[in-house]
Symmetry: C2
Subunit: 119 residues, 2 copies
C-alpha cells in the first residue's frame, strides 16, 4: 500500500497549469497542479470537476460571478458550466475528476497539457 504525500508531489511540479496525476480511485483521478495568472475559459461537457485549494488562493470566474477560494476550501464545477480559473500568486490545487478529462475542456490550445502524466 502506497501513501501519497502531497508536499513531496508538489516538489516535482515545475510548470503552472499542468495537472499531474498522483492517485487513481476506480476510474477517477486525483491531480495536483500549481497555478498562477490566467487560465482560459472552458467547460467540460461530460463531467463535474472538483477543485480543492491546498495552498494559497485562487479564483474561478463564472459567467455571472467570481468565486474566491482559499486554502481549505473546495468547489465542484458542474458539467457544462463555463469557468475560468486564475490566481494572482502561485497557488497549489488538487483536482478530482474522471480519468481522461482534458485540462482545457472542449478547447485545444497552447495551454492544453498531456493527459495521464503521473508524478
Amino acid at each position: 500500500m502506497k501513501k501519497i504525500n502531497l508536499a513531496s508531489k508538489y516538489n516535482k511540479i515545475n510548470e503552472h497549469w499542468s495537472p499531474k496525476v498522483v492517485a487513481e480511485m476506480n476510474d477517477y483521478q486525483f491531480k495536483l497542479a500549481k497555478i498562477k495568472n490566467d487560465f482560459i475559459w472552458h467547460s467540460h461537457e461530460d463531467t463535474d470537476e472538483t477543485f480543492i485549494v491546498i495552498e494559497g488562493k485562487i479564483s474561478i470566474e463564472f459567467e455571472d460571478e467570481t468565486v474566491e477560494l482559499c486554502e481549505g476550501e473546495m468547489i465542484v464545477v458542474p458539467k457544462g458550466k463555463k469557468h475560468r480559473p486564475f490566481a494572482l500568486e502561485e497557488a497549489k490545487i488538487m483536482l478530482v475528476e474522471p480519468k481522461g478529462v482534458r485540462n482545457t475542456g472542449e478547447l485545444i490550445n497552447k495551454l492544453t497539457t498531456k493527459n495521464n502524466e503521473w508524478i
Copy 2:
C-alpha cells in the same frame, strides 16, 4: 456557485466515525469525518476508497502492514481490500467514494452510520 469551507464544515461534526457529505461530483461524494480510537475491520467489495488526512494523524491497518498518514497525506484503498482505520488522537479526514458506500463496508453494526447525511 457554492464553495465549501472544510473548517466550517468540521465545526458541524460532533461524533467520531460518522462521515458527513459536503459535496457531490457526478455520482461520487466528498465526506468529512472526525475519527478517534479504533474502527472495525471491513472492506468495500465494489469500490476503491480514498482517505485524505486534513488534520492530525491516522493509521490504516491492512492484513500485512499498517500505514501511518499525517496531515497532507492520502491513500487509495483498493476495492475488496480489508482495512481497519484508527487514530490515537482525534484526526480530521476527507473520504472520497461513490455515493451510497456504507462506512462499515459489508458489515452492519453499531458503528454503521446513516448514509448521505449532508452538512
